[in-house]
């Protein structure tokens, strides 16, 4: 699709969508959102980019191969699940670290649960982009 307006606007929109997807990912534990939704939004951004500028451009912009992204995500999720073994908990038990917590204020919560959600995010985004890019290149 050779529309100058679309491809120009898309660059901006993709950036916004990516930021929005990470926002949805991070807030997911307390508000609607999470890895699945974040990953889908992120994938939507690159799908749009691929339609506007072609898959070659989109692949270049993504920098990593989407199937690698999916596999790395799967690995991260697995590590997050296995990490609980270090604390002698059953597998996939969430481990939490509250930085600067005081009283009711939880401070900055870091957790293997978040790590797992990042894995989900990468798998969903990578998986969908693998499919869509390959499909579009067929045309």
């Amino acid at each position: 699709m050779n529309s100058l307006i679309l491809s120009t606007a898309t660059r901006l929109i993709v950036a916004i969508l990516l930021m929005f997807s990470i926002f949805m990912l991070l807030r997911g534990h307390n508000q609607p959102g999470g890895g699945f939704i974040g990953g889908l939004i992120g994938a939507t951004g690159f799908v749009l980019y691929a339609i506007a500028s072609g898959t070659k451009e989109a692949r270049a912009a993504l920098r990593v191969a989407p199937q690698q992204m999916a596999m790395v995500g799967l690995g991260i999720a697995a590590v997050a699940g296995l990490a609980s073994a270090l604390f002698a908990d059953p597998l996939f038990t969430g481990q939490w670290l509250f930085i600067g917590a005081s009283g009711d204020d939880h401070g900055l919560p870091l957790s293997t649960v978040l790590m797992f959600d990042i894995g989900v995010y990468l798998v969903v985004m990578g998986g969908i982009l693998t499919l869509v890019f390959a499909l579009e290149e067929e045309i």
Partner: protein, 758 residues
């Protein structure tokens, strides 16, 4: 099968020596039980096998099982000695020895098992090992067919028997034979008695080759001779007899038991002895006499009397001794001369004197001559026949006919090859020599044993017949004495008449054989029927496959959807569905619009012939579903649904560039059926959903998640907490699926195309 062996090969190899040693060790072990068992005791050992199901690996030794165990291991020693030489030099000798020993162990397990399931397992093991042994010459078509036939016939019977055992277990509450012993009345009074009896008899009759399942046994002679001697005379086919004897306390005593066994036993015994006379191949002749013996054993297991069971026990031993001896004798002859054809063999007594004498001893026992144990056996058969509760005429008549024919057959098998004319002997390039010692041991020992037990019948009575009667009838006192000379009575007259008839039959056996062969052409051949049965089963399978697996996707789906519709819809119709009053409260126009949107999108997709319209319709439905989620408090799901729906539309649009337009509809008569199935399934699903929502829901899990989501898992979005924390392992599985689907699709697309279609 002389080609199996090399005359000069050494006997001193592991494959030759180890099996007889194992068998001898077992024989000695079982001998040590002889004293306590003959005093009326019994021994039981049990190990837990599947404790959760109450299945034990339990073994039980009483008079019946000990006799069988001694026969199996004792004849096993001689047969294995024989095969050590007979098979020596055969490259597959090791394999053969392993099969033979495995078979012996399986057979011992069968007769010693106390648990019915254990018995079944060993029963099937004997079937499998005998399959391997019969099919030992696996490159021969004949062996393949015979092995398969034996496996299918006895295997099918075994499955029927298992069903019978399970019924016994459910009626009586126990699977242990030792506990079942006293429960005969419970089984006989149960409404399941007849099915149990028929199923168990199916197992016993197939294994023991009773008419009409007799045809596999003569075919099984394709096996090497030691196998025939062992499996088909002394052991495997006696498995069915063992089963009947074992079940005698539990199942006998009814008219069904009595008459079924009498009719099948009597018919088999006469039928088989006539056919035995017809055979040219001596091994085949012996195979049919085995059938005759099995028929006689079954015939006498029918009756509850002391004479019948004593006769059965005596004849069991008699037959095992002479039959194994004769088979091994024929193996020796075959080994030395290379033929088993009754028409050609003759004059061997000068070349093979020991074989001839040993075979002669066994044949005299078989013919029932004085003073051999066979004589005592035959007298007892007559006495038992004369007091048969079924029909004296049928039983005695059958025994008379069979015995006379046995007399003639004994002459054909053991007399003529050694003493008859040598005019038709095949010319060999090597001299005919006496068989080597390991091969001679069997016929000699077994032949002499026939004479020994004839002269010392009280030893046999003490060791075998009394304990067997004790085991079967529960009272050793009912056993009858074994006498070589029982005085002048009806049985003696019958014996003399038998000899006279047998002599006449022997003198005219050549003419008779030719007549029988000519008549046999016109007789119905069960063997051929078996083949056509297999062909019919195969053809049926092909037809069924063609019907249910035509390879047409739409037909598969039609079958699947119709089945679901009929199964669930039928259940709903049969059971009724409590849908309560339709819940239609709180419906606002917003809901109506949302649901209307959802349905109308689907409707467009159904009716349109335009791809774009269909994709748009799907999009509308997807958005409609997302709106339903929003309406009822599921924002996460709704967002996901919208995003996915968008991607679906994009993918479809991209793919549409590459795919053809939608074809025209099928003709209406096809679509009519499709529409009926579709609407039917839709209605069924509606009913099911209404049914589900009208019963109370267990909210325990949801309440747990709501209660602990924040305090324990530190998350306020309960849906997300479930996904990434409470049920994270499930989610991990699901993202794996996503990754695998993506990689597979990628591989499918990037794979180099075969052919040049695009």
């Amino acid at each position: 099968m002389a080609q199996n062996s090399d005359q000069s090969a050494s006997f001193w190899t592991a494959a030759s020596i180890v099996p007889p040693l194992i068998a001898a060790g077992l024989f000695a072990f079982f001998l040590s039980f002889l004293h306590p068992i003959s005093a009326g005791e019994s021994v039981r050992h049990a190990w837990e096998w599947i404790p959760s199901m109450g299945v034990e690996l339990s073994f039980f030794i009483d008079g019946l099982s000990l006799t069988f165990a001694l026969l199996i291991s004792g004849i096993g020693v001689l047969v294995m000695l024989f095969s050590g030489k007979y098979m020596a030099g055969n490259p597959q000798h090791g394999r053969f020895s392993m099969y033979l020993v495995s078979f012996m162990l399986a057979m011992l397990g069968l007769v010693l098992s106390d648990n019915l399931l254990g018995l079944f397992v060993f029963w099937e093991l004997t079937t499998i090992t005998s399959f391997l042994l019969i099919g030992f010459n696996h490159d021969s078509k004949l062996s393949q067919r015979s092995a398969m036939q034996a496996l299918l016939v006895t295997g099918t019977g075994g499955l029927a028997m298992l069903a019978g055992f399970l019924l016994i277990g459910s009626v009586s509450g126990t699977m242990e034979l030792s506990e079942l012993r006293g429960m005969g009345d419970i089984l006989r009074d149960s409404p399941m008695y007849l099915p149990i009896l028929l199923l168990v008899l199916a197992g016993a009759f197939t294994k023991s080759a009773q008419f009409p399942f007799h045809f596999w046994l003569p075919n099984a002679m394709a096996a090497p001779t030691p196998v025939s001697a062992y499996l088909h005379s002394a052991t495997m086919v006696k498995g069915g007899v063992y089963l009947l004897a074992r079940m005698h306390p539990n199942l006998s005593g009814t008219d069904v038991w009595l008459w079924t066994l009498v009719v099948f036993g009597a018919f088999t015994t006469v039928f088989a002895s006539v056919l035995a006379l017809k055979q040219n191949d001596l091994k085949q002749t012996l195979a049919y006499t085995t059938l005759m013996a099995l028929g006689a054993l079954v015939l006498f297991l029918a009756a509850p009397g002391g004479y019948a069971i004593t006769a059965m026990a005596t004849f069991l031993v008699v037959h095992s001794l002479y039959k194994a001896a004769l088979f091994l004798m024929i193996g020796c002859v075959d080994h030395s001369t290379g033929t088993r054809d009754a028409r050609r063999l003759g004059g061997l007594i000068r070349r093979m004197p020991i074989t001839g004498v040993a075979g002669g001893l066994a044949a005299l026992s078989m013919a029932g001559m004085y003073p051999f144990i066979g004589f005592i056996g035959k007298e007892l058969l007559y006495k038992a026949g004369l007091e048969s509760p079924a029909s004296v005429l049928i039983v005695t008549g059958a025994i008379f006919l069979a015995s006379a024919l046995m007399f003639a057959v004994a002459g054909v098998v053991a007399l003529k090859p050694f003493w008859g004319s040598a005019a038709h002997m095949p010319q060999l390039d090597r001299p005919i020599r006496e068989a080597p010692i390991p091969m001679l041991a069997g016929p000699v020992i077994l032949g002499v044993a026939g004479l020994f037990f004839g002269l010392n019948s009280h030893a046999l009575q003490h060791a075998v017949t009394d304990p067997i009667v004790g085991a079967v009838l529960g009272d050793m006192e009912k056993a009858k004495d074994l006498h070589l000379w029982a005085g002048v009575n009806m049985a003696l007259y019958l014996s003399l008449a038998t000899f006279a008839t047998g002599l006449v039959l022997y003198l005219f056996h050549k003419t008779l054989r030719e007549r029988l062969i000519a008549a046999g052409e016109r007789l119905m051949s069960f063997d051929a029927k078996w083949d056509s049965l297999l062909v019919a089963i195969n053809a049926g399978a092909v037809k069924v496959t063609a019907l249910i697996q035509p390879g047409i996707l739409s037909r598969y789906l039609l079958v699947v959807f119709s089945t679901i519709t009929l199964a669930i819809g039928g259940t709903i119709l049969a059971r009724g569905l409590d849908i309560g009053t339709p819940v239609l409260d709180g419906i606002t126009y917003v809901h109506l619009i949302v649901f209307g949107l959802t349905v109308s999108g689907a409707f467009v997709a159904v009716i349109t012939n335009s791809r774009i319209a269909a994709i748009a319709g799907l999009g509308v439905t997807g958005i409609g579903v997302a709106l339903v989620f929003i309406q009822f408090g599921a924002p996460d799901v709704a967002i996901t649904q919208i995003l996915v729906e968008m991607l679906v539309v994009v993918l479809f649009s991209v793919a549409a560039l590459k795919l053809p337009t939608l074809p025209q509809r099928l003709p209406f008569h096809n679509r009519g059926l499709h529409a009926i199935v579709a609407i039917g399934l839709g209605a069924v699903v509606t009913g099911v959903v209404i049914g589900i929502t009208s019963v109370p829901l267990n909210m325990n899990l949801t309440e747990y998640f709501e209660k602990y989501s924040y305090p324990i898992a530190h998350g306020k979005n309960i849906v997300n907490v479930i996904l990434v924390d409470f049920r994270a392992f499930d989610t991990f599985g699901e993202i794996s699926v996503v990754a695998v689907a993506a990689i597979s699709a990628y591989a499918l697309l990037k794979q180099r195309k075969s052919g040049g279609t695009s």
